[in-house]
């Protein structure tokens, strides 16, 4: 993990809610950042000093990867605060990369009432490795514009709840599943997702259903323990910032 600085080079609007930031002057250590790893970012002045203490916590940024011009692409909710030329202090990489089973061919991604960015950042990597991908957008997430995504990604838009057409078939097709849910009560929302899976699928194997946990990240280093999760297979809590963000939902205590 490093504390480095970058500069916003370009900003591109990709849909009504989302922008892509291109960050230049990226430290070489971040060239190898992998899907699932994040950065904690704060706007700073040219000398690296924070512009203000409000907002106090660093923002969690989900990088899509490096571009051909040695800039790092980051997906963010559209925000007029970002401008080309601004300097950004970056702390990271935070967390562990997503893990995919070697035998997995079909990956199901579910965004339920949450911004699907933690899922869309892995699409390039999945398609490059010739995996089949279906993205299911439910609740608030169904308004997410997907025109910028590759045509190889099947996009299904559901309704308000945790249901969509042909869901039994989709769940049966998937070898592995990654999900994001509304962060207001992640455990309860993941529990609802897991219950739905148990209803629709006879057996949920280990390393099948992964939840991407997104509590507010305070330190990103494992120092503050604000993101600790209770595990069902161990008395030792796991930290979302250093051990996550993705956890097998069968191993997390969601009660």
């Amino acid at each position: 993990m490093r504390l480095t600085q970058a500069k916003i080079e370009r900003i591109r609007r990709i849909n009504a809610q989302t922008i892509h930031l291109e960050l230049g002057l990226i430290d070489e250590a971040l060239y190898r950042i992998k899907p699932g790893q994040t950065l904690l970012a704060r706007l700073v002045d040219a000398s690296g000093e924070p512009l203000a203490w409000d907002p106090y916590l660093r923002e969690q940024w989900w990088p899509l990867g490096m571009t051909g011009q040695n800039t790092l692409l980051v997906e963010r909710p559209a925000n007029p605060r970002y401008e080309p030329g601004q300097y950004v202090s970056l702390l990271g990489p935070i967390g562990e990369p997503y893990r995919f089973s070697q035998r997995a061919k079909n990956i199901l991604l579910i965004a339920y009432d949450a911004d699907p960015t933690p899922l869309t950042i892995m699409l390039t990597w999945l398609l490059r490795n010739q995996l089949n991908v279906t993205l299911v957008l439910l609740g608030r997430a169904r308004h997410y514009g997907t025109d910028h995504l590759s045509a190889e990604v099947e996009v299904i838009r559901g309704e308000d709840g945790l249901e969509w057409d042909d869901m039994v078939m989709t769940l049966g097709w998937a070898d592995q599943l990654y999900a994001v849910v509304a962060p207001d009560d992640e455990r309860q929302n993941f529990k609802a997702l897991l219950d739905m899976l148990l209803d629709r699928k006879v057996v949920i194997p280990q390393r099948f259903a992964y939840g991407i946990f997104q509590p507010p990240t305070v330190c990103g280093t494992g120092a503050c323990f604000a993101c600790a999760l209770r595990m069902s297979n161990s008395s030792r809590p796991r930290l979302t910032c250093t051990d996550g963000p993705a956890f097998d939902l069968l191993n997390v205590r969601l009660d």
Binding site: L3, L25, Y56, L57, P183, V218, C219, T221
Partner: protein, 301 residues
Amino acid sequence: MSICITRPGKNALYVSSPVMPAAGTFGFGNVYRSLLDYDTLGAIVTNPVTYQPWSPAAGQRVVALDAGVLMHTGLPNVGLKKVIREFGQVWASLPCPVIVHLVATNVDDVRKSAATLDHVESVAAIELGLPDDISWEDAQKFTTAAVRGALEKPVIVRLPLGDAFEIAQSVAEAGAGALVIAAPPRGTARDKSSGQLVQGRIYGPLIKPIALHMVQVLHERLPDVPIIGAGGIHSIDDARDYLEVGAVAVQVDAATWVQPNLLERIARDLAGRLVTRMSDAYPDEWHADMGDTEFRDRFSD
């Protein structure tokens, strides 16, 4: 540079810099090793430890505030003996003294914990964290238990912000080697995403004037008791203010989370070490985490 941050005596604790991280902000000692130069720190204060294991708090735990944050972690830890087993070697390898923060749960556990820590060579001192809304009698009992348990090591007592005026004298009389003024205050805030009210400790720059005032008053009232100032330090000047009103050292809390190199910069400044960088350096070329790429480009030939 050598500073005594506890009362003089055979158990006195000397440090090379008057700057250390506050309990709960620095993990158990090794999480910031890739980001900070530990040589610059006077000591490291561990995350809170209890005699028995504690689980994380349930529900929403972090609420972002204007220029601050409210947090309620539940002080999760695997229990004192496991913590010592896991981190004893790490502590021994650190270049600065380690102070273990002990949570005052009950008198018996405090005494047993202090006695256990007394035998751990890699631990330099014990910091006892008193609960909020504690009476001076209970504060005295907890402090006495810790002091009687730790015969060889100084016991530093962290006072709750709201009760520091009332209990400081009795804690000092019970044998506290130094006082930490103060623990982050408790508050309640509404989490916007869930709509729930959340209780927890408040961190941010606004805490500093309150804690600074308390340090000033208590230093005048108890001039012989060393005071370590803590709360809301977010700049070098903030830290210097604490020393000016009588603190022997300072603890930096949440600033380490949001701007990790700030702790090192404050420590360098207050210890009289080099604080400037090369005039043409990039902003992130700052000692501990100097960007390798630029460094190599510039100095490879």
